[in-house]
């Protein structure tokens, strides 16, 4: 319902890209004015153009823009906001930012600083989880800075082990070590990444669970001590420890296990006095689940839950932040899948840069696209490589997979390399279709297109070179007003000919 009196007057969205736009969409639907912030490279970004107000933070570097607490508070004051939504990433799990908001008289749309701090420190989080009777993966509850001690501890836990940033989240700063001789260099890189990403270089060791599935519980807590959970999401399709495909429900979860995981997640939330939206991540392996970490923010993959439950989690966040009680959790319906569209090489998974020169986004029944893309958008190396998310909803899992495939085939982006081909191959993979997969699934996925696709591409390139050089062989009456013959020049330049 649109409240006659909006929950807030004006909301600062302290983020960029698709999540900034997504938060603004809900705010607008609730009659809340939206205020954007931007770095210089984002001046023309959709989150700026679609906002009611906009404020320049500074140069592209995150430290001078989206990570700069002082500038964000200044922005909120200059635009006379009364609340701040941090999105995900950047300062969303920074307790100091939450405190700075409170000091400036701004409502921070997220959990209280002490909960962010407790869950943000992975070592501390494990202690609290253990006390709340939430099962843990065997590991080390402290940072070890001495190389030799670390090697001894790793041997005790048993290889393979994982190195994780204590302040981390979203898979950043995680390294797997399979042999002792690689431990020291891995720890060095992990510390460097952790330091760059979170300003905190502490890392800790953990046993690597075999055939693990990544299953997480979406919780929501109000200021009156109530906590509910919105089922689970399975996020086992990962590359470089970054999620690529998420789905709900998780095919291997029994109702009893789902209930047990949900209740464990709610216990943890209550134990830290949680408020707002949060996600408790678990590793699932052979009927057992282990607490991984709690993300004290809205998750990238939250739409998977939204389409299945028919709920708007950002709306719930804003309601809870305004002091309202939780709304009842509706019955889930059908099956949902999200595919992240990353600017990266589908073969090497390295990030890619470029400028979008043409795009077609998918549509039609059961398809939702969360993105801040536009023709002319330049993908720069300054920020995350995720361009957007495709979310589909189907009657059951097979229907959702078919719909996801259909929608992915409709998505066209010219000017940037994306992870779409990999996602399509996962959707075709027999193990994925059976639901019998774990976080290692991508290792077995072909990185190359099918032979007939390669032949088609070869013929297409050849006929384009032939036909575009001979405008009279194609029906010129059909040619659109904007000339396609520009390509001719470019193709000819490649061939070394000048015209």
């Amino acid at each position: 319902m649109t409240a006659r009196q909006p929950l807030f007057r004006r909301l600062l969205v302290a983020n960029r890209g698709e999540i900034a736009l997504r938060v603004m969409r809900t705010a607008r639907e609730l009659g809340i004015e939206t205020a954007a912030v931007y770095s210089d490279v984002d001046r023309n970004a959709l989150h700026v153009r679609r906002a009611d107000y906009a404020f320049r933070l500074g140069p592209p570097s995150p430290k001078e823009s989206y990570l700069c607490i002082d500038r964000l508070i200044e922005a909120a004051k200059a635009m006379r906001c009364d609340a701040v939504h941090p999105g995900y990433g950047f300062l969303s799990e920074n307790a100091k930012f939450a405190e700075a908001c409170a000091e400036a008289g701004l409502v921070f749309v997220g959990p209280p600083p002490h909960a962010i701090r407790a869950m943000g420190d992975k070592v501390e989080a494990r202690k609290i989880a253990a006390a709340a009777d939430v099962p843990l993966v065997p590991g080390l509850n402290e940072d070890v800075r001495d190389d030799q001690t670390m090697a001894i501890k790793a041997r005790e836990i048993g290889y393979p082990v994982m190195l994780k940033a204590a302040a981390g989240g979203g898979g950043k700063g995680i390294r797997i070590v399979r042999e002792e001789r690689l431990l020291v260099e891995a720890a060095r890189l992990a510390r460097a990444e952790a330091s760059a990403a979170f300003g905190d270089d502490r890392v800790y060791l953990e046993k690597l669970v075999v055939e693990p599935r990544h299953v997480e519980i979406q919780v929501m807590a109000d200021q009156h001590g109530e906590v509910v959970f919105y089922g689970e999401r399975e996020c086992s399709v990962q590359r470089r420890h970054q999620k690529l495909i998420e789905e709900s429900p998780c095919v291997v979860l029994t109702p009893a296990l789902r209930q047990a995981m949900g209740q464990a997640a709610c216990r943890l939330a209550k134990a830290v006095g949680y408020v707002g939206a949060g996600t408790v991540e678990f590793l699932y392996s052979r009927g057992q689940f282990y607490f991984l970490e709690m993300n004290t923010r809205l998750q990238v993959e939250h739409p998977v839950t939204e389409v299945r439950f028919g709920v708007d989690l950002v709306k719930e966040q804003l309601r809870v932040a305004a002091g309202l009680a939780l709304t009842p959790v509706p019955e889930p319906r059908g099956h949902a899948i999200e595919v992240r569209i990353n600017a990266e090489d589908p073969d090497t998974f390295f990030p890619a840069l470029g400028t979008i020169s043409r795009m077609n986004l998918p549509g039609g029944p059961g398809v939702r696209m969360d993105a801040a893309l536009y023709r002319g958008l330049e993908i720069t190396p300054h920020y995350d490589s995720m361009l957007g998310k495709l979310i589909v909803h189907g009657e059951d899992r097979a229907h959702a997979i078919a719909r996801c495939r259909r929608a992915l085939e409709e998505l066209r982006l010219v000017g940037i390399t994306t992870s779409v081909p990999v996602a399509l191959r996962v959707l075709d993979d027999a193990r994925f279709v059976r639901g019998d997969y774990d976080t290692g699934i991508l290792d077995g996925i072909s990185r190359a297109p099918a032979p007939e696709v390669v032949e088609l591409a070869a013929m297409a390139a050849a006929v384009a070179k032939f036909a575009l050089a001979r405008p009279n062989t194609v029906d010129s009456a059909r040619a659109p007003a904007t000339s396609p013959w520009r390509l001719v020049e470019r193709l000819d330049r490649l061939g070394g000919r000048a015209r």
Partner: protein, 166 residues
């Protein structure tokens, strides 16, 4: 005139011939009837091959085109007969050295080697940070560093030569 295309290490050869208002494609002893229709400013076209519909997007990149269809994206090098002859001559002048390129664009955060260093296969030469991930760039085999083309803090484009080995 023949057209030569190379994609994912496979070689293709096509001939095209307008006939009765249609376009006939030929490869070896196979033939197809094509209907080619460009749209936009040349980066998209519709191709009917024996009535089968393909929606294709084309980008020109350094040395070829990238063709997109139904979610797949394939790099193709394409040249006609005349160009092939010209390229064959040019390739004779290729040198023996090899450059280790940046496999992704980013910022150089560490340079681990100096000219004259002997390096092993897989040894980290340079570390590049892009989108918060640190990525080691490694030697593609044993060798000696002939030149280091970048320094810490440099922003490098994809494919840029970082280190020359010999």
């Amino acid at each position: 005139m023949k057209y030569f295309a190379q994609a994912l290490s496979r070689d293709f050869e096509f001939g095209f011939e307008p006939r009765d208002g249609k376009l006939i494609a030929r490869s070896g002893d196979r033939t197809w009837e094509l209907d080619f229709s460009p749209l936009g400013d040349g980066n998209a076209f519709s191709l009917l091959i024996d009535g089968k519909s393909h929606d294709l997007l084309v980008e020109v990149y350094d040395g070829g085109v990238i063709v997109q269809t139904r979610g797949e994206r394939v790099k193709v090098k394409v040249e006609d007969e005349r160009e092939r002859v010209a390229h064959a001559v040019a390739n004779k002048q290729a040198s023996g050295r090899r450059a280790i390129p940046a496999v992704m664009p980013g910022v150089v955060v560490d340079v681990r080697v100096a000219p004259g260093d002997e390096v092993d296969d897989g040894q980290t030469l340079v570390v590049i940070e892009a989108m918060k991930m640190q990525n080691p760039i490694v030697a593609d085999g044993k060798g000696r560093v002939r030149a280091v083309r970048v320094k810490k803090g440099d922003v490098v484009a994809q494919g840029a030569a970082l280190v020359e080995l010999e």
